[in-house]
Symmetry: C2
Subunit: 367 residues, 2 copies
């Protein structure tokens, strides 16, 4: 453990700043020579500071999942924002109206009934609002079915002078973590064929499609190669979830060009048995939606959740443990997005020394 760890109370959310910078640089390099624009998803890091690093490395605009996040990013000076989930309800629309005058906002819609209210908002704000229509390309969540359904919404958008049809969104999150490159590629091709049927129908109806947006960190090389999407929304590459690190990146079986940059520092607070150590990180410090975290640099150890504030660490071969009371371990989250959302700040380290602390500025802004 580095000396900085003695200055950090636990559990704490750590960023390895060199790894973060390398990841952002690697993404810039990957996208070089491809026409697709990079619009990173900020739901992973929830930090305007990291968004600014991404912008400086060639990103054009950013994605937020929720309006509350968009408001906070806008107040930090970021002014090209797409909200990737539908905004529904009078209170949301009033807040959107307040944002439109100063921010280039793009919002997603997948329902005819949502269009007129959005048009009213844009009209009253006196600024054209860009609308992307979401197509369900296999996720089984939001979005109209592939084919003609998108065109009906596009036609409705075109009836409102305060709105501008910007394009289509097709995101298949379930593909992102597939370990097999071939499986992932097959899945992306299927998803893109679905998106194309909608795009073809929209174009046949006489509409121009400016943006085809989607993609994620796991499918990125395939998204770039296929070239259907012209705007990519990867988020996780800045930090890399534990499972993402292990996927086959390309046909040659290379690892991803990104590495783990986010950990949760935790302390051994109990050694009740030779084969069991209890650490001070549980469900309130590390998310469990995608399984347990892995213990960094200790493949011999396993972590299991043991309540809100406890985790149990064991030797993988069920043997005795060499962990002392007070010793610290770093956990690589199985899902960085939801783990980050549990913490109010990052401790930023470079070569094991504390460089800075950064706010998780949009933590909890799910509304």
């Amino acid at each position: 453990m580095s000396m900085a760890h003695f200055e950090i109370d636990t559990p704490a959310l750590l960023i390895d700043q060199a790894a973060l910078e390398d990841n952002i640089r690697a993404m810039r390099d990957l996208c070089k020579g491809f026409p697709a624009r990079l619009r990173p998803h900020t739901k992973t890091h929830k930090s305007p500071l990291i968004a600014q690093l991404q912008q400086r490395a060639g990103a054009t605009g950013l994605c937020c999942a929720k309006l509350g996040e968009a408001e906070r990013f806008a107040s930090a000076g970021l002014n090209d924002i797409m909200v990737t989930t539908p905004l529904v309800g009078q209170l949301k629309l009033e807040r959107l109206a307040a944002l439109i005058p100063s921010v280039n906002m793009t919002v997603v819609a997948d329902n005819l009934a949502a269009i007129a209210p959005l048009a009213d908002v844009a009209h009253s704000a006196g600024r054209l609002l860009d609308i992307v229509v979401e197509v369900d390309v296999g996720q089984g969540r939001c979005g109209v079915p592939p084919g003609a359904a998108a065109t009906a919404i596009v036609q409705e958008i075109s009836r409102h002078p305060s709105l501008r049809f910007a394009g289509l969104q097709g995101y298949q999150g379930k593909l992102q973590g597939l370990v097999s490159y071939e499986e992932r590629r097959r899945g992306v091709k299927e998803a893109m064929e679905k998106l194309q049927t909608s795009a073809d129908d929209v174009r046949r109806a006489g509409f121009d499609i400016r943006i085809l947006t989607g993609g994620g960190s796991g499918t990125l090389p395939i998204d770039l190669e296929l070239g259907v999407l012209n705007e990519l929304q990867p988020g996780s590459y800045v930090f890399m979830d534990a499972s993402y690190i292990q996927i086959g990146w390309d046909a040659d079986g290379n690892p991803p060009p990104f590495r783990s940059a986010l950990t949760v520092l935790t302390t051994v607070t109990s050694r009740p048995a030779d084969d069991r150590a209890v650490v001070d990180a549980g469900w309130k410090s590390v998310s469990c939606d995608s399984g347990p975290p892995i213990v960094k640099d200790r493949p011999d150890l396993t972590f299991e959740f043991a309540g809100d504030e406890h985790g149990i660490v064991r030797d993988r071969s069920a043997g005795p443990l060499d962990l002392r009371l007070g010793e610290t371990l770093e956990l690589i989250p199985s899902h960085c997005d939801t783990t980050v959302n549990l913490h109010d700040r990052y401790v930023v380290l470079r070569e094991g020394r504390i460089e800075d602390t950064w706010d998780v500025a949009t933590r909890g802004l799910s509304f």
Copy 2:
């Protein structure tokens, strides 16, 4: 849906104030006539305001899981606090030293090596520190094994004039949610027998045991009846998890005297198919560690998680749904503690009207 719902943007954490007050009153009434003191666990609600309601209804002191919570409760004027997890590490001890002079602090230990550092802290703070020794009564987490192991720690405590041995803690969280009263009662009896073997050994060594602490909302009637514990730590009764509502409370199969007081308000933001509605609450608004939430007053509906910010609602019989875009639903969390920890504030309702908003003051204070 009540009219107040139109004034609340979603997702939002709602308290039914009448239900909360009823639950706090019901707990006071349950404990009447029993000698055990009530020291509610605040890890559920993370709110000094609710802790004060509990104190006014007869609670003597409170429990926190972490020192960060204790610091915040202390700054709100609550001054009899037990931290129920071991405090290990120099930074933690320095923070503890700052608390001791103004707060009646009790801390838990389960390791010989932890005692001398705690004694130093208490000595330098110039105030006696109460130590409770944790016994593993079946949880398989922290705590020394039942029997003689506790006595060695008690003896070590007795060597330090700045420390006072207060008693033993024995908590069996895995029993709390058992649906069958008989099974739960059998489990509690076993756990209490384990605690008794430690208590007997400590007493035989000549030490007085002031506190036997443990118990939770699910085992409360059994803990009261058996009378082994003289201090009880229930937390969840203020809100009641979805599963807790359904346990058999007593031998006659009655339901618990507590009812659901906490929900997450969510909006239908997409109706992509007749049999599927998407709502704006996912892993970042409702915790999943104990399964999906249930939809309040709509036993015909199911909720499944669909990502950070999405949930999918379906008809239980897979039929078409009657939910409109923009309609709101209330979700009863499967685990209130971890759901509360995702939100910064409560919206407090009485008869469907907004009464107040309360801070989730110790949200994220897991360190």
